[in-house]
Symmetry: C2
Subunit: 335 residues, 2 copies
């Protein structure tokens, strides 16, 4: 079991160095090449990565760091990233970090001891982590996903949330809606701010006065409550943009409890599609993030940095969202 480069050397009467050279794609004599390859077959040689890593100080491994408690949205993205990385001959380790602790030194130590070549960081909403600092100090290249780091310049790739929200809002407006609502989670998070900005962009383009806008945000758990308040206003919005997937659930539950029907009584567009949105009655129109492209771009960018190419640092990749029109928006008669 487990033959090594030494066995190959003995078997072929060549030196370690020559075998290693061949294995790393350098030129050697064709006859030796043949000899080595035969020997590898015969002895079933498989390179030992831990030895390679130790000697070369490169591990061809990157780590996806995500906040503890895996929201399964991210789990999905991990699979995508793993697949892309594998194409570059990198392997992926996933690890969660404790976002509630102010100090992530232990996570950094993990990365250092594992000798990872780079990190894909999925920041926590709270943005209070010091991980970015630590990574920078340790000279570990990293790319952020989803959230812009306010604290430090860093590469990041994200959906173009602003444009996505803008497009959805315009769709409301083009269908005659003039009183609009938006419900978000924590409105101070980067993502929410962007989406809200897109919402406002479209509204001001159509000269919708501020008093026709109804914007709520806060805890996800209270979103249903916000929704209830909003819809009970005497002149409530006719269309609401839901700024997050989880919020939409609360909204739909509330609506059905209030016996209001989509889109007759209220039009609705949601961020972040789920397969299941298409199964609702009516199916929900959504702004959907292109997870595949996010994964691809993040991978590409990270590997560029690992290879020492720091052109355009810090780079921001905005990935276009897709707008899937289904049936949750009412075409107003008075349009």
């Amino acid at each position: 079991m487990g033959s090594t480069i030494k066995d190959i050397a003995k078997d072929t009467n060549l030196s370690l160095a020559t075998i290693s050279k061949h294995l790393n794609g350098k030129n050697i004599l064709p006859e030796n090449k043949k000899l080595i390859e035969e020997s590898i077959q015969r002895l079933g040689y498989i390179p030992n990565k831990t030895a390679q890593n130790l000697r070369s100080k490169k591990t061809k491994t990157i780590c996806i760091l995500l906040p503890i408690i895996g929201d399964y949205f991210w789990g999905f993205l991990c699979s995508i990233i793993e697949e892309y990385l594998r194409k570059y001959n990198y392997s992926t380790i996933i690890s969660s970090y404790d976002a509630s602790s102010g100090d992530n030194t232990s996570e950094l130590q993990f990365l250092l001891s594992k000798q990872v070549d780079g990190v894909i960081l999925i920041p926590d909403n709270s943005n209070s982590i010091n991980l970015p600092f630590l990574l920078q100090k340790a000279h570990i290249p990293f790319v952020c996903l989803d959230q812009e780091l306010s604290v430090i310049p860093a590469d990041f790739v994200t959906s173009d949330n602003r444009a996505g929200a803008y497009g959805a809002t315009r769709y409301f407006l083009e269908n005659g809606h003039r009183k609009l609502g938006a419900i978000g989670g924590n409105l101070s998070s980067y993502t929410m701010k962007e989406r809200l900005a897109g919402f406002r962009d479209a509204c001001s383009e159509y000269h919708i006065p501020e008093e026709n806008l109804c914007i709520y945000g806060g805890d996800v758990s209270s979103s249903a409550e916000y929704f209830r308040i909003m819809t009970s206003l005497p002149e409530h919005p006719t269309a609401v943009l839901m700024l997050g997937y989880d919020l939409t659930l609360g909204a739909i539950m509330t609506l059905s409890a209030l016996n209001m029907q989509i889109p007759k009584d209220l039009s609705l567009i949601s961020f972040d599609d789920d397969e299941i949105f298409s199964a609702f009655n009516p199916p929900i129109t959504t702004v959907v993030q292109n997870m595949n492209e996010i994964g691809r771009q993040a991978t590409k960018l990270l590997i560029k940095r690992i290879n020492g190419n720091y052109d355009l640092f810090p780079e921001t990749k905005m990935i276009e969202t897709n707008f899937i029109i289904r049936k949750s928006v009412h075409v107003l008669a008075d349009y």
Copy 2:
């Protein structure tokens, strides 16, 4: 940057061996212990795992192997497993394998070269992979999730699908339903067989004649079509058990297209809950897998095997499903 055990040795005037001893929890003189710990602090020493791995031939790393194209159901489970493994000081690498190829030698080579201590294998439905053989031959401990391997005895942990289906079906029966349907994906897969068996268990307990049962299965894409056929039968079932999450979506879409209402026109229970099922109108009653427990048990079992404990091999851990009663089942008047 990056001090080593050698630096600590020099700094403390002790030998490498002593430092290593301390680091691995063996006894050394208290004064030396203090000396070493101070030195570690001062020099910011972090153990190099690649070196440790090379020398000790243990990597404290396990690999989650999942079929290519990450269905995000599995992504979620990966996060759970990672979290448990971390508690045992293991790290997790994820890697996908090509289930369509009959030969997964390259995947095995990856595992061997990475020197992983164990594998959590998520088999493909097709069960045609030779990975289990290869793992066994290479003496890499592994635990299967979800599917029993027909080809080889192996540890596996799975939901108790049969009992779950039995419970759901009984719920139909107890509410007066006597004509029942079940719609599955590929009925020859282990999971589907189990669920169907549970369905039949309950039916035969209530002496439901076979002609009152309506069972369809096949491609997920054609499930909507099966559903359409079933509901158009002159004496169609009054209650249908959906044997998989994705199938339910098709069903609900079809139902709304046919203008049939749940549960008035048809009662429905689905396997595999999604947060969103509770948001449907009406909310869907479901049989839900305890992913957390699956992850926990799989981790525990794998680590036991890694530690050389092969008691009760091959071991099967059946994890109870939970039954969440919502409002998609009609209480029949004639009950």
